[in-house]
Symmetry: none
Subunit: 291 residues, 2 copies
Amino acid sequence: MGLYSDLREKLISDYAKLSPQMQKAARYILDHPNEVALRSMRALAGAADVPPSTITRLMGAIGVETWQDFRDHYQSRLLDQPASYAQRARETQSVENDANRDEHLLESIARTEIDNISAAFSPELSSRMIEACGAIENARHVFIVGCGAAYPAAYQFAYAYRLFRDNGILVDGHSGAFGDELRGITRRDLLIAVGAKPYIRDTVQAVRFARDQHCPVIAISDSDVSPIALDAMTKLVVRDHSQSFFQSFTAALSVMQALVALLVARGGQKALQRIAVAEEQLAAFDTYLED
Amino acid sequence: MGLYSDLREKLISDYAKLSPQMQKAARYILDHPNEVALRSMRALAGAADVPPSTITRLMGAIGVETWQDFRDHYQSRLLDQPASYAQRARETQSVENDANRDEHLLESIARTEIDNISAAFSPELSSRMIEACGAIENARHVFIVGCGAAYPAAYQFAYAYRLFRDNGILVDGHSGAFGDELRGITRRDLLIAVGAKPYIRDTVQAVRFARDQHCPVIAISDSDVSPIALDAMTKLVVRDHSQSFFQSFTAALSVMQALVALLVARGGQKALQRIAVAEEQLAAFDTYLED
DNA sequence: CAAAAAATGAAACATTTGTTGCGATTGTTT
DNA sequence: AAACAATCGCAACAAATGTTTCATTTTTTG
């Protein structure tokens, strides 16, 4: 019997030959290797949503005698990891070539991104987000605008929001002239605007138009005094520090996702039901690929 | 009950007060912390040369309810990244207060997002990203595809990329039928595909089409064996853990931004000049608002 | 020294774990 | 349509795990 230096590769190469349920199990194992090392087989089966017997069968299918052998393999893999980590750090320090300059840049990016996210979930911002949720829940229509680099964040919110509420409108100019969707906006509506420097004219004009119609604004921006946030009811000022030329919208996206999570959590059972219905509709349109 | 950030200290401070046999056990645990995380209590007792009951008594002596709690602590210590994540999750669950529930949820979200990003910049993923950059630089055309919740990440890359390279094409179906942009794709091109479960049919078909034309694929996905990543040349598997119903695309977005940053850094002066030109064009179109 | 207190290890206990067997279900072929 | 094989999940099983009990030994104390 051939011994594999890493069972992971064996699992990947044999993946296609496995039965659907075993694929499900293999997939979970590939995605969560540490759980193999730390949790019990039954717990792992439960997490992967397969009966325990499937795991046992998977062992046989990939040529592993017993679960213990499999687990041992993943345990030693877990113990070896810190070693290679340290070794890599040493290598990075010793040689000063082009390749590890890239690695340094990536490490620096990672730190910055984490800082940005941490700042976005400070107590102050958190309470503002909760406040924003209240406003969203009471609005008649919820408009979302964000252009250029801010478009992903706006789209993200609009996409998720529409799965459980049907009063969200993404202002992106895809339906005619930009801002056309805003016609008829009133003080009972709400505009969520995303944007950082350099501020894009369309976004700012959308905000101003909404303000003129006495529509409250929730601004996700890079400054309290940015043209987007200046007159906003709720200001969510997120950091967009970045190692590169472009600003980072990671924190903005994260805040958008957090808003959705909050809304769903507060919406309770009803929100979950709506999501289920939306998913069924998507399935009916054959949007998803069945596993 | 006082919670210690590290039970190790508790073990050391109480060491003198323990009975001889318990000291023997405590000594072994302090010397072999990983064994606590990986082996069974009986096995540990055997290794420490004490009866199992001594371990149970030691638990009570240092104020730990059960062996499971003790083991959990050492397990999360072993995976130093999500250190107190499990504990935090448990706390969030235990407190059923409506007023604080939102804040706890946000804290939990923040923690998870940071974990996701940390994992995305692991040594393994970092080297894959550098590898991906090489492929991007040598490709004739760079196609980017991502649907549904993955669209923001795809858009983000395409938007930034087009500021310094003019061979990027976002496959989003805005120009006629979906996938129409892919016509004429060859082995000299490159497809960057973003997507997580549930996999959207359009994305998967785009990947398959590219593969059929022998076009290499860079996959940003949630699993090594996802239909998007399975046959990909370079697999960037990012975590999408989330406290809410939806998966998080924060890490995917962050990876996209990092790729752009890498490309610009490697592109040197030439890339910066192109960016300057692009900005001037946007200014000419009166896109930005002058301060 | 004797009585009380503490500590110890073996065994018993209920629980959990990994594995196996079997009937039911599914999908394919004749 | 019937027959076959593959796959699946439930339930039973034996082995192990964590905990408790209790009699014995050791230590402390008056």
